[in-house]
Symmetry: C2
Subunit: 228 residues, 2 copies
Amino acid sequence: MDLCSKKLPLRSKYKGICEKKCYREKGHTGACSEFPYIADLAKNHPRVKNKIIRDATMTTGAAWKSEDAGPNRIPRQVMLQTDAVLLDYGLKMKALKPSVVAKLREKAATYEDCMSVAVKLTWLAYQMPDAPTCPKDIKNYLEKRYGTMAANSTPCIICKEPLSFSLFENAKRGKAEIETAHSNPREHNDINVGFAHRECNIAQGNKTLDEFYDWIIGILVRAGKIRL
Amino acid sequence: MDLCSKKLPLRSKYKGICEKKCYREKGHTGACSEFPYIADLAKNHPRVKNKIIRDATMTTGAAWKSEDAGPNRIPRQVMLQTDAVLLDYGLKMKALKPSVVAKLREKAATYEDCMSVAVKLTWLAYQMPDAPTCPKDIKNYLEKRYGTMAANSTPCIICKEPLSFSLFENAKRGKAEIETAHSNPREHNDINVGFAHRECNIAQGNKTLDEFYDWIIGILVRAGKIRL
């Protein structure tokens, strides 16, 4: 699909180092929009819409509050900049613990990749069991980007069990039961991304999916539960 | 082993609802002591000593700071008391989220169980690869409680790989790489407790070990990695 790609005005404090473009189809009528395909979720499932945009475009939140915990949720594209540039934007990378810096830098992704992830996640969300019906124009847009959509065809990328759309609303200890997950946690792009149960995502940790499967095979062999 | 069991004075704010006893052998000479077997670790590996006593006797820390996050690290035996009694000690259980209350109540354990866990963990720590040599009097005490000690015989209770004593000192993002783990996370006693890699303990989550193994077998079957 050819996209409009017109540059859109940014209000972020990081606007000097961030992009924002129109992702409507080229030649569209009416106003430009960065997330045209999310309108229906925005209206009927705002929590899901917020989650998709946040996970696609932002780094994770600081896990605790302290001087060196690092900034809370900043655009992933900002993390592509050098320490020197970030200093101009008030981000003192050198003041952070190396482990925090590594965690932040790991989340770096181009604007294009972030935007592709947002489309892919929306495409996946509409294919979950219990998902709302996708309006025709949005379905048309999503299918042009990622192919034909089929009901009940989005499993947890880790455990392969079905992921009910309703789990987006469930929360344990303030955390939704569905998380955005990565086959390789260090690559944020549309090929590598999907949804997972929170407990599966936690178990996978920072391993790739292949590393995770190999790891748990080893555990089961040593525990005498399976034989290779 | 018969224990002295003399009641010892408590300085805790919870002293009205906590026990403290001498765990030296009955008929000992010299002063009473609650943790006689930990003296060598206290001197040479204070971080390990602190971890063992903390994990054995205290609830976990509050994961984040907020009004309803619950109290940070209180004696497990305190959590055996009713809401009404706890209120007298400034713990407003009814003001906490049900999920926080459940997490705290899950950590409840009798003083006797906590003390047995501390002995068992010390016994296990001295049997790790790289563990310091156990002084003869302490070894004698520990073996009377839990049987003959053998070098290199303490694996991770989850993945069954060796757990090097040196991992106690390693810390990623402020967390030691060894954690106290439970075959059944809802039972805090000497039979049920051991050490595990942090990543294994995180993966196990609040499942029992058997549930965890069954769960990961299911994942591997559905992912096409093993056949039953």
